[in-house]
Symmetry: C2
Subunit: 328 residues, 2 copies
């Protein structure tokens, strides 16, 4: 690439792993890496690890450090995005209100931005993924729990207090719905996502449903349930399609509030997406249940599909945030 071309370093930091990459201003991924976060050895070790990986990425990408215009950092949990501060970072012992953005910026000698990881993933999908050029987009990330990100007019909508797109907490069944340890009842996350699927499986067995899976296995996982569903276990299959219904109700609420052009679904709990019968059935159920509950125009026109960048959406979106804030 021309030595004058500017690039962005995107870093998606999780509790145990980081994904990072170098993305050019026009959206080519020059290098990427998935590595341990090394955070179990503390913050200093984690930052040193991050810097080493970043400098290696730059070398491997065949660019110079000077060509890195800015750094985007995505992290999980609640934060003050404009201030660049993570409230409860990575369960790091002793850390609260970590000024992660400025620490990265100082250490790397580059401008940096901080973003919530699901927000960043939504922007990544809008820049280079399934939501390319969508004017407005909501992104569901289905993992252990359920997260979300919203992009309006090409930018992450962060909300007034960096708390927008907490879509797993949308209440769909106030009365009689499942209760969380935090006292919130009947929200999407309590129906959808890996943890909820395991709980609902056990509840169904307790209510007399049968399954080829051993339900008394304390180590029962959502992965095992989704594999059983793909091997013909009726209960597992039913429960997963029921998840689609609950996700649809949350999606209807997003549509009735935001009316986005597109809703994307990503994360580990998407069952192989378009490549498996289960993934296709889940998406079809989601679309049908949304259509049932919304206005004819939004029911017909809202594009609902799987995200396409997998676990790279976060670092790509982090780079995209840096690119918006620090254009070339």
């Amino acid at each position: 690439m021309p030595a004058s071309e500017s690039c962005y370093l995107g870093i998606d930091i999780g509790g145990s792993s980081i994904k990072a990459g170098i993305v050019t201003n026009d959206g080519r991924i020059l290098q990427k890496r998935h590595a341990s976060s090394a955070l179990e050895d503390g913050l200093e070790a984690g930052l040193a690890n991050l810097e080493r990986i970043s400098r290696e990425l730059v070398v491997d990408a065949g660019i110079t450090w000077d060509q890195v215009r800015a750094i985007g950092v995505a992290a999980p949990g609640t934060m003050d995005i404009p201030a660049g501060v993570v409230f409860h970072p990575f369960n790091l012992p002793g850390w609260k209100n970590l000024p992660l953005r400025d620490m990265v910026s100082q250490r790397f000698g580059k401008p940096a931005v901080l973003q919530n990881d699901a927000n960043a993933a939504a922007l990544g999908e809008t820049w280079l993924g399934a939501g390319k050029n969508a004017g407005s987009l909501m992104f569901w990330t289905l993992g252990t729990g359920v997260g979300g990100g919203i992009v309006l007019d090409g930018k992450v909508w962060e909300g007034a207090h960096s708390h927008a797109a907490e879509c797993g907490h949308i209440i769909i069944q106030e009365d009689g719905g499942p209760r969380s340890e935090f006292g919130i009842h009947g929200c999407v996350e309590l129906y959808v996502g890996a943890k909820a699927l395991v709980r609902r499986f056990r509840e169904a067995i307790a209510a007399g449903r049968s399954s080829s899976l051993a339900s008394d296995d304390a180590s029962l996982t959502a992965l095992a349930i989704s594999q059983a569903a793909q091997s013909g276990d009726e209960l597992s299959h039913d429960l997963i399609l029921e998840s689609a219904k609950y996700l649809a109700i949350g999606t209807v609420n997003v549509i009735h509030i935001l009316n986005p052009e597109m809703v994307l679904v990503g994360g580990a709990m998407t069952f192989g997406q378009h490549t498996t019968e289960l993934g296709r059935a889940f998406l079809e159920a989601l679309r049908a249940e949304v259509k049932k509950r919304t206005f004819p125009i939004t029911g017909e026109r809202t594009v609902i599909d799987y995200a396409s960048l997998g676990n790279e959406a976060g670092f790509i979106g982090a780079a995209a945030c840096a690119r918006i804030k620090y254009p070339v």
Copy 2:
């Protein structure tokens, strides 16, 4: 006023009445009028009436027609806002897909914009009312039904298909909740608003509750229930505070999706707002129920209050829409 100063004509058209006014570019209301829409005599009569009222307003405001920079028209129901087309206008017989914006523009010889009435009211409150200068705001309008408007970064968020802020349709009780004639279950509008209050009152009586109000009166109104609540009728008071709980759940969903700086509540079903015990109790219940169900930061920082422009918010917001699209 200086003859050079530009003004905007804002018109809020309902099925039976219109509210209109002349607002200066810096937000002073020079003249306003509340009149019959004359739509019962058909579209031509309605437009002629509108033009007459508008020209009188200009004269009474002491400005010239040339000083009217542009016209904003707010109307109820679904529409294509960018195209300026109302889908099902005012129950006008024979009319569908009415190009209202262009008809007004041609008739008046001025640029015009169209906006949904609740969206316009939200913008009006942001410009001159209780939401003055809020960076982001959601506005509930509680009348016979429940509507909403969203303002982000000083502009109405219309959504991808002009269907944003249909907040009365937010689902809060999918299973076992009340059903509407359109097949949507358990949405906010079915719990909150005048129609829902009357239904819930009758249900409570049927379930054995007693009240000083005659429940077998076919003409029972929400106004009568709210008056009974203010005169010490326990059931009426309970039901109204319960409305606040349901409105809170809808509000929590708005917060978890958008995290607006402010949520305002307006419309006829606000019980005298800050001026009565019932109005104050309703607002306090709404705030408390929101706080219970959201994150500590949004629970503490989201400003929740009554709107302040009453039924003038619509024409003021319509003028504001014209001002944004056609600045001086």
